[in-house]
Amino acid sequence: MSYTIEGETGPWELVIGLEVHAQVVSNAKLFSGAATEFGAEPNSQVSFVDAGFPGMLPVINRECVAQAVRTGLGLNAQVNLWSRFDRKNYFYADLPQGYQISQFAHPIIGTGQIDIELQDGSTKTIGITRLHLEQDAGKSLHDQHPTKSFIDLNRSGVALMEIVSEPDMRSPEEAGAYLTKLRQILRYLGTCDGNMEEGSMRADVNVSVRKAGEGYRTRCEVKNVNSIRFVMQAVEAEARRQIEVWESGGTVEQETRLFDTGRGITRSMRSKEDAHDYRYFPDPDLPPLVIEQSWVDQLKAALPELPDQRRARYVRDYGITPYDAHVLTLEKETAAYYEAVAKGRDAKQAANWVMGDLFAAINRTKTSIAEPPVSAADLGALLDLMADGTLSGKLAKEVFEVMVETGRAPGLIVEERGLKQVTDTGAIEAVIDEVLAKNADKVAEYRSGKDKLFGFFVGQTMKAMQGKGNPALVNEVLKKKLA
């Protein structure tokens, strides 16, 4: 059953397309040598080119082009060996040249596609329309002075990839899953850090609604949404607004809107009549961008493993479930952690520990997989202590908690606290003899057929041994003695 929103006139389908602006990971800007570090002092990373000074000229940064090509390859897309930069003309105080250099008519990357994973375990293919390179603008600060606006040009000229999807998504969930997957691919490729809070990835959301079986109705664009959760909320809010317009006899007008995250509604930013005439034309300062197929092939050969490939490998080589493989590959860092733990060990057990105890510890301690409370090497050592019988599962969990608290290696903790499990049959027999002697009545009951009491004896034995008895041995000796 596909996703619909129920209006007064019945169910409505949603049609969603996303335009994502992803800041390219590079040391220098798209057309100047200025640095791109986030959070630097305002106007400290600005060249005369970025500030639009007279006589300054853009020179393309080869690494930014390589990053766009890598991303295109990661999106299974057509790489255009000939592309061109255009000027998009408009006036704004944080746009020093009075135009943005972008690829309007001839983008470097053409059509492609990615598969998104949905909650119900299904996947869906979303089309990519294009990817093009463009410059970012600076930042206007209107809250620094009662009557003046301040301009920070650090971001001016930073390379962005604009990644445009086909209108293939049909629910907020799909929009969220698309962004999640896109971000995952970009992070795997190392072409964008995907940090939406820092603004290095932003989404413009195109939404329209329709009745089943109809063509497309007018769409509206919700600009600059800066988290996956907000994208999902904005889709729903905008769809509900449009349904209300249509159902009250009105017409949805094509316009640009903003998502008010506080109130959970979209607001009109500018209508089609107010839309800029950007007067696009080829930038005469830049010859067409021509790249060699051999260079594209080199970049392709050097691509890292992508999420889909890695997931398939985990299922195939580690024998874990597709769901577990999905969870473990969502973040590149999680996958690396998992592989370090699983290497040469029980891969399923490793998956359970990473997704269970480790994730819980990360949540509890508000840390991250990049700076985990327990290192992959230490977790692996803990698994080894279980494998060689030093620790029972229960003891291992206790040791893990101590590891989280102290950051110490499991071997040291076991030694210091005497947590080592007892595997000496003689010692176990002595304790069991004592337990059985103390509970002669229960022994009689057990022997007369009350099998359930076996657990009681195990518990008593373990308690007497402070949990350090090897469970298998305890069971074995108990069975023998009670026989």
Partner: protein
């Protein structure tokens, strides 16, 4: 011989032989500027003190045996080239007081080779004009005058009018210019000197205030073809800071000036015989062809079928690019800011740009904005780009038949202020013979070749294949030798 009468080649030899020092040479030109600039207004900014210091340093370098090819040569720099620490106005109020913190590549290379800069030359505002009348820093007076109307104030041509007038009046030995539609060749012709617009991409545009990026090209002015060749060698060369600059070796252009033209095929475009062209221009053109024939060249009639569309094409492409290039003059970061206390951003833009730009610049920004607008783009800008491609193709076909083309530089001699200068379309006709070279990216050299009946200089123009400035120089030098142009302007140093 008065020091201001030297050619560049002659001055280099005299400096080398110790006949004169760079300081003496510079001081003589500073004196000429002090005497003449108040009348001619060729220089917006005079950097006399800097120049004398630089000349002393030049003498010291020469003494150490480290002289560059232009060591101690006094030049004027069109005020469109950004010069570090020296005001650069582009002839516009909007850049009044703008002191660039960087140096253009062309001027940096001239300095590297030892040139001494005496000042920043006047020009049409943002290089938009053919008369130098659109400068916010006043008109430039052509040092030549009419025989029977000596009081008429003649224009030096434009946009590099100050550069041409300064060289003609012997205030400097040479100057830089830029040529977007004829802005070197037309003023050179009006002022009786030589000037070349090299192939697009030959000189870096880095640090030159942009007018129309796909057409703008820097080039030199001097009083001889050889001097232009010497200057161009220093100005040219690949620059990684300009993506449109050509990665090609720079030949010894001066050596090409002595090449024979024997056996060269010289094209005469039949479409250049335009209606209403003065008889003396036709006559001079024929004379030029005769000189080349006498020197052993073969004259071939050719056709450039789309030549007639060049002017309208230029006046779409150039303003379109200009409208975008000039968007950065917004009062936010540098130059003029005209704002009231309560101005909002839009008001700041409107006041600044209305106060900062003159009428011709405003006109071209409006034309350019119009031709790029939605609904008009295809009919104007896109159509013009197609015609531009056809014009370039016409030339490519011509190059299979000829090695160079000879044409008039301008449709008339210098005109007086007020004569037609209030009619923009009439004004644009000045560029009729020059814009094609810009649209096709070709090198074009203007050489003084004769006088009109009023005693005003007229120029002939040599066009060549892309990056074949050497043939252009060879043909230009042959015309120069044959013409033996000795006339001098009335207003000049040492007169």
């Amino acid at each position: 011989m008065h020091p201001t009468d030297f050619t560049i080649a002659g001055a280099v030899a005299a400096l080398e032989e110790g006949v004169i020092s760079a300081e003496e040479l510079t001081r003589a030109h500073v004196a000429a500027i002090e005497a003449l600039n108040p009348k001619i207004n060729a220089l917006i900014t005079v950097t006399a003190e800097h120049a004398i210091e630089a000349a002393r340093a030049s003498d010291a370098k020469r003494a150490r045996g480290e002289a560059g090819p232009l060591e101690g040569i006094p030049l004027a720099i069109k005020d469109l080239f950004c010069t570090e620490g020296v005001q650069t106005t582009a002839g516009s109020k909007i850049l009044d007081g703008f002191i660039p913190p960087y140096e253009s590549t062309v001027t940096a290379q001239l300095k590297r080779d030892g040139a001494v800069f005496l000042g920043k030359a006047n020009l049409d505002e943002f290089a938009m004009g053919s008369s130098n009348l659109t400068s916010a820093y006043g008109a430039v007076l052509n040092p030549w005058s009419r025989r029977n109307d000596p009081d008429a104030r003649l224009v030096p041509g434009g946009s590099s009018g100050g550069s041409a007038a300064a060289v003609a009046a012997r205030m400097v030995l040479g100057a830089t210019g830029t040529d977007t539609g004829g802005s070197i060749r037309q003023p050179a012709a009006f002022c009786g000197i030589a000037g070349i617009k090299p192939t697009y991409g030959r000189c870096s545009r880095f640090g030159i205030v942009a007018y129309a990026s796909s057409l703008d090209q820097a080039g030199p002015f001097a009083r001889t073809v050889e001097d232009c060749a010497v200057l161009l060698r220093s100005m040219a060369g690949h620059d990684p800071k300009d993506s449109t600059s050509a990665d090609r070796a720079v030949p010894d252009f001066a050596a090409a000036c002595t090449r024979s033209v024997k056996g060269l095929r010289i094209g005469v475009p039949k479409e250049y015989h335009i209606d209403g062209m003065p008889a003396e221009i036709e006559k001079l053109w024929r004379q030029g062809l005769d000189w080349l024939r006498d020197a052993g060249a073969e004259i071939v009639e050719i056709s450039l079928p789309h030549a007639g569309y060049a002017l309208p094409t230029y006046y779409i492409v150039a303003p379109a690019e200009a409208s975008s290039n000039l968007a950065r003059y917004d009062g936010v970061r540098f130059g003029l800011r005209a704002a009231e206390k309560e101005s909002d951003l839009r008001d700041l833009y409107e006041r600044t740009r209305a106060a900062g730009f003159g009428p011709e610049v405003r006109r071209r920004i409006m034309i350019g904005t119009y031709v790029l607008s939605a609904g008009y783009y295809d009919a104007y800008y896109l159509k013009a780009q197609k015609v531009r491609a056809l014009i370039a193709r016409d030339f490519r076909e011509a190059w299979s038949k000829v090695d160079a083309i000879l044409a008039p530089a301008t449709p008339s001699a210098a005109f007086a202020e007020g004569e037609g200068s209030d009619d923009p379309v009439q004004m644009y006709l000045n560029d009729v013979f020059t814009v094609t070279a810009n649209l096709a990216g070709l090198p074009g050299l203007s050489v003084p070749a004769g006088l009109d009946p009023q005693g005003l200089p007229l120029g002939l123009q040599v066009l060549g294949r892309p990056f074949d400035e050497e043939t252009v120089f060879a043909v230009g030098a042959a015309i120069e030798r044959a013409a033996d142009f000795k006339a001098l302007p009335g207003m000049r140093a040492g007169a």
